[in-house]
């Protein structure tokens, strides 16, 4: 009996398109999508772009206008910042991490350069698609927007604190 019920349930899920794909599994771990249900996550998946980078390839360059955020599927991304003419590694991102989310809000210049380390697959979620989503599906869009602003507020607090605590503590590397 439970088998039949499960079968029907699975079929229904397929009919209504609420089957978890690999991308949805990554998306649901990202804080700005944490509030969304499966149907909504599927809608987000449709508007994300799958990109592949080779070792050493730049995702974006510091001071260039930003177009959106990225979520790492596999591989590693290094964030570099130019300080007094030297490229300083700010952070290293692994699977499930995300970066560049401020670019979802406006076209401000990127605050760091992102470079792939080894073959890296990332998901791009871009501002034009996000703005379109806000217009097309305001409920879903504002959910994401709220999470995004809360997360940026939290991040800002953390960054400010860490800046106050340990300025110049980062390991310096030249590239």
């Amino acid at each position: 009996m439970p088998n039949i019920a499960e079968n029907i349930f699975e079929r229904l899920r397929k009919v209504f398109g609420v089957d978890k794909s690999e991308i949805v599994k990554i998306l649901e771990k990202v804080p700005i999508f944490s509030d969304l249900n499966l149907v909504e996550l599927n809608k987000i998946e449709i508007i994300t772009h799958e990109r592949e980078y080779m070792d050493g390839e730049q995702v974006f360059h510091e001071k260039e206008p930003g177009a959106g955020m990225y979520i790492i599927r596999t591989g590693t991304i290094k964030l570099l910042k130019r300080v007094e003419g030297k490229e300083v590694a700010v952070a290293t991102m692994k699977q499930g991490d995300f970066f560049g989310e401020i670019a979802l809000l406006d076209e401000s210049p990127r605050s760091a350069t992102a470079v792939a380390e080894g073959k890296t697959k990332i998901l791009g979620f871009y501002r034009p698609d996000f703005l379109e989503l806000l217009k097309r599906d305001p409920k879903l869009g504002s959910k994401v927007l709220l999470q995004l602003s809360q997360m940026i507020a939290k991040r800002l607090r953390v960054t400010t604190e860490s800046n106050l605590k340990g300025a110049g503590n980062g390991s310096e590397t030249e590239s």
């Binding site: 449709i46 772009h49 990109r51 260039e64 206008p65 177009a67 791009g124 501002r127 034009p128 097309r136």
Partner: protein, 356 residues
């Protein structure tokens, strides 16, 4: 270092491939203009209906159902229009059809009359030469139309099939357009991806605004023309008003093109210069209302276009591809302008193409 070099070569190869694809697409487009017309018409309809589909989707209805709803609504609406308006339009068309040979006869008579006058005034001219020329040239016209009848029927049949193709294309582009776009831009190299994505978005926005604004504008001009022409009592006001609305799509030159059949009817059917004068007055009034009140609201929000640039692009489009060229000149100009604006901004403000 070697890896980086490889990457560069790979990116360049990809970019070159894209340029080649665009070039091939343009060549195909140029060679098969007639074939691609349904595509272009479908794109226009998609641009017009997309906001509506988005709106229905925002109520929580799936895209497919949203598009299906629009189509059902459209078919019902078209059916109602045909039901109500068909009789009067059909009456006007049949009247026109029976009247056309009479018009030709009348034009011929007046031409021959004038020719006789011209001949008598010019010395050394053989009597009846001009007259013979006119009767020879114009005499075949009614029979020519009769001979062309199968051809006209074939065109009509073609019209039905192209309408079906357009509806088909519109449905699927409206339903799956986003996925199409996503799959197409997938091939863009990483280095240019963000720029191209933003660019496509801006182009889509400005061309969409232009097309939607122009469609609204044309509808209002058609309605105003029909009202104005009926008020002065011009025959076939309905058809001619609709023609005026359609020609209004072409900026600046369109209104003049639309005026020609109206003046023709006024001169031939009503045989009065006064009627032609009032036709011109009505058309100018419609254009005045359009330019002062309608156009700034409907089209004004799209890209800021200078009249000289618009006329130039329309002329170039007309020279290259005729009527369709004139129609699509401004949207293409829009897209090019947005492209250059964004690239220029990128170079000036960020220098992204040098240090990337």
């Amino acid at each position: 270092m070697d890896l980086k070099q490889n990457l560069k070569v790979w990116n360049w190869a990809k970019l070159l491939g894209i340029y080649l694809l665009i070039l091939i697409a343009l060549v195909i487009f140029y060679l098969a203009q007639d074939l691609l017309t349904p595509f272009l018409v479908a794109f226009i309809i998609v641009y017009a209906l997309n906001p509506l589909a988005d709106k229905i989707e925002s109520w929580g209805i799936k895209r497919t159902w949203a598009v299906a709803m629009i189509f059902i609504g459209f078919i019902v609406f078209a059916g109602l229009v045909l039901l109500i308006g068909f009789d009067s339009i059909k009456a006007e068309i049949t009247l026109l059809k029976t009247q056309v040979p009479a018009y030709i006869e009348r034009i011929k008579a007046s031409l021959i009359e004038n020719a006789a006058m011209v001949e008598s005034k010019i010395p050394n001219m053989k009597k009846g030469m001009l007259q013979n020329m006119i009767t020879q040239r114009l005499g075949d016209l009614p029979t020519m139309i009769g001979e062309k009848m199968p051809f006209i029927l074939k065109t009509l049949l073609g019209l039905v099939t192209s309408t079906l193709i357009v509806l088909f294309l519109t449905f699927f582009i409206l339903k799956d357009g986003r996925e199409f776009r996503k799959n197409i831009i997938r091939i863009i190299p990483n280095k240019y991806f963000e720029t191209v994505l933003c660019l496509l978005f801006e182009i889509n926005k400005s061309v969409g605004n232009y097309v939607r604004g122009q469609l609204i504008d044309c509808t209002i001009v058609a309605i105003l023309s029909v009202i104005g022409l009926s008020l002065i009592g011009l025959k076939y006001a309905l058809i001619i008003g609709i023609i005026c609305g359609i020609t209004n799509i072409i900026p600046y030159l369109g209104p003049i093109m639309g005026m020609i059949p109206a003046i023709f009817i006024a001169l031939v059917e009503h045989k009065s210069g006064a009627m032609a004068g009032s036709v011109v007055a009505v058309m100018m009034g419609v254009q005045l209302i359009d330019n002062v009140a309608v156009s700034p609201i409907a089209v004004g929000q799209s890209v800021d276009l200078h009249p000289i640039a618009v006329i130039l692009s329309v002329t170039i489009g007309g020279a290259l591809m005729g009527l369709w060229g004139m129609l699509f000149a401004v949207p293409i100009y829009c897209a090019l302008k947005v492209t250059f604006q964004i690239l220029y901004k990128g170079i000036i403000e960020y220098g992204s193409w040098e240090n990337a």
